[in-house]
């Protein structure tokens, strides 16, 4: 099976700092990583290939530097990388992003399972995976925590819902989005690192995709960001120090009304 995993390069949140004076995000010097959920998608794709045979292609839409994310995926065991990059994609919202990725998937053509992370840590939307499924008119299983069964023509996955697990059987091709529980991503092997260095990354631009120009980037995006601001920083509050027997009743006194209100 040809498994395609969609990955996004995001700023490392552990690095994101807030300037205490201006209360703005300090972005200089922040390194980029593969979106954490996409690491699980990569690992699962490789495991499926190990079970079924075939190959795994990682695809990303992003700036030229996102090539690094593809190489990292290859170092883990992904076979090929495709970078979809063009200034025509500037200002893409999730509609245009999922459209662009769907057009790239059409160009790939022989995809079986399409893997995505549950959501990206910068936008946190969880919309691109189902969006790709909608553009390609494919079934989807979101929030997958385990793949129970897979063959060339179907997949059975466990989907994590708020109050339990749903087992879903879907025909292949289909789109899966995965949560952290699904696996433990491997570290790159030495062989993998070498392969990553040598790998030829495929570059696709807007013209390569047979995409409708009006559906790309800003023009293809129904939503517009009109304002960006930093939320007022949370002030550290009241600290109780002292003997437990003293401070606990003080806290209970402070919280009691809020607890009663929350219960009603």
């Amino acid at each position: 099976m040809h498994i395609v995993v969609c990955i996004k390069q995001v700023p490392d949140t552990a690095d994101v700092k807030i300037d205490p004076k201006t209360n703005t995000l300090i972005r200089e010097g922040v390194v980029s990583i593969i979106n954490p959920f996409d690491m699980y998608a990569i690992e699962e794709s490789i495991r499926l290939k190990e079970k079924l045979g075939g190959k795994v292609t990682a695809i990303t839409m992003g700036p030229p530097q996102a090539e690094n994310a593809l190489r990292e995926a290859i170092s883990m065991g992904v076979d090929a990388g495709i970078l979809v990059s063009d200034r025509a994609f500037a200002g893409s919202d999730t509609w245009a992003t999922s459209y662009t990725l769907a057009m790239a998937l059409k160009k790939i053509g022989d995809y079986g399972v399409i893997m995505c992370g549950k959501q990206a840590s910068d936008g946190d939307t969880a919309q691109v995976g189902p969006g790709i499924a909608a553009h390609l008119d494919l079934p989807q299983i979101t929030y997958v925590r385990k793949i129970e069964e897979i063959s060339a023509d179907h997949v059975v996955g466990e989907r994590l819902l708020e109050e339990g697990t749903e087992v879903i059987r879907a025909p292949v091709p289909c789109v899966l989005t995965v949560v952290k529980e699904i696996n433990e991503p491997r570290l790159p092997s030495l062989k993998g690192k070498l392969a990553a260095k040598k790998a030829q990354i495929t570059h696709w631009k807007a013209d390569d995709l047979k995409a409708e120009k009006g559906n790309l980037g800003l023009d293809g995006s129904p939503t517009k960001v009109v304002k960006i601001f930093t939320p007022p920083a949370r002030q550290g509050g009241q600290i109780f120090k002292g003997e437990p027997e003293e401070i606990v009743p003080q806290l209970v006194e402070k919280l009691k009304d809020a607890v009663i209100a929350a219960a009603s």
Binding site: A14, V16, G164, E166, C174, K180
Partner: protein, 405 residues
């Protein structure tokens, strides 16, 4: 380049770097002492435009023609909310959407409509009307008994095309996000995820959708100026639930859909309720969370006991989940769940940025930690410095007394 949606004018830029600092997306860099915008990273949020003292950054006008734009916006009317139900029970998020939707509808002079999909649920429409709906669209079919992505999406698409709502709100739940992402693509609507603030722009009547990004480190306000409906998912527990008014009147419309629309390629094989869950933490008003400070799985019992007295859900840090002390569904944070309860009590959690990303918008945060320098204290409304093994059981006992349990 003249087609680029945003440009730095080389003759005006002096290389002062102010724009670089202002860019939340790290999309501006210096090249030969001038600012250059990396378009593939730029979201065209416009944050850099006003900070440039030399007016060197220009954005292309946003009223350029766009694909799929709706010619006559006034043909789209009413505020719709998706009434999420499970096992035939209307979920609390639905009441929160009705509360917020009512305000928006009143401001716009439009009706508030609920869309209820299910099987044998027609008797639930009164509940939706009492909570503020003027009209309830019901689609009743055995295929809709429980949530299935494909038929639910197809039915909503069908209804939206037929009735043309101006706004469509849905909970930012697992179901909600899976569902409306498909719908928005098909009806070519703008969709804003996980909103924590909604308002109507008094001039344009556009829906202003405010949401956190980067784990809550920045907020963005987003509009959908030219497409309809304006769709948004809304975070749990942020909006106030609509109250019951038994005297309210409303109409119910039973909608028929073609058999074709109800088909699903993906099929549920079975559903296994989670044994551990006492409460879905996304819906909990109070959450008591435990972290690595608990030291061993059996010690989660002291967290559970406090939670029980408070009628709270049980959460955890990733460290506790990774150690196998509690199932993943309880994990709060960047790679777990985002929660927004009235009270969040963190026991033995250090408060790393990935954990804060999932809970820092809680109303009241209580931190219990023996390390006075733990970062959790920087966001805590109340902090107890000390040994949780003493403090938490004591807290349970004192609350029992105070709440007379």
């Amino acid at each position: 380049m003249e087609n680029d949606p945003i440009v730095v004018m080389k003759d005006k830029c002096v290389g002062c770097r102010l724009c670089i600092k202002s860019c939340p997306f790290g999309a501006i860099a210096m090249q030969e002492k001038l600012a250059v915008i990396e378009l593939t990273r730029c979201t065209l949020c416009g944050a850099c435009v006003p900070v440039c003292k030399f007016k060197a950054i220009e954005m292309r006008k946003k009223d350029a023609p766009v694909a799929g734009a709706v010619a006559d916006l006034s043909a789209y009317r009413d505020v719709w909310i998706f009434a999420e139900q499970k096992d035939g029970r209307i979920q609390s998020i639905t009441y929160e959407l009705l509360g917020e939707g009512r305000k928006l509808a009143d401001q716009l002079g439009m009706s508030l409509c609920a869309v209820l999909l299910g099987s044998g649920m027609s008797d639930k429409t009164a509940e939706l009307v009492q909570r503020g709906a003027d009209r309830v669209y019901v689609v009743d079919a055995p295929e809709l008994a429980y949530f299935q992505d494909e038929p639910y999406a197809a039915v909503l698409i069908d209804l939206i095309r037929r009735h043309k709502p101006a706004i469509m709100l849905c909970g930012a739940t697992t179901i909600g996000r899976s569902l409306v992402s498909r719908v928005a693509v098909n009806v070519r609507a703008g969709l804003t995820a996980d909103c924590t603030g909604l308002a109507i722009d008094p001039e344009t009547k556009n829906l202003m959708q405010t949401r956190p990004a980067f784990g809550g480190n920045i907020m963005a306000t987003i509009i959908t100026p030219k497409h309809r409906p304006q769709m948004a998912t809304v975070r749990h527990k942020v909006m106030k639930e609509a109250l019951v008014d038994a005297s309210r009147k409303g109409e119910t419309l039973i909608e028929k859909v073609a058999a074709e629309v109800l088909k699903s390629r993906a099929q549920r094989v079975k559903f296994v309720p989670e044994a551990e869950t006492t409460m879905n933490i996304a819906e909990a008003n109070i959450i008591v969370s435990g972290g690595r400070g608990l030291q061993a799985p059996e010690n989660f019992s002291i967290v559970r006991e406090l939670a029980e007295v408070l009628g709270a859900g049980v959460g955890s840090s990733r460290a506790a989940v990774d150690a196998g002390w509690i199932p993943y569904s309880h994990q709060v944070g960047q790679t777990g769940k985002t929660v927004c309860p009235k009270i969040y009590i963190a026991c033995g959690i250090s408060g790393q940025i990935q954990h804060l990303a999932g809970m820092s918008s809680s109303d009241i945060i209580v931190a219990i930690n023996k390390d006075p320098d733990a970062p959790i204290f920087r966001v805590a409304t109340y902090g107890l410095i000390g040994d949780l093994f003493k403090l938490v059981p004591l807290l349970t006992r004192e609350f029992k007394k105070a709440l007379k349990k």
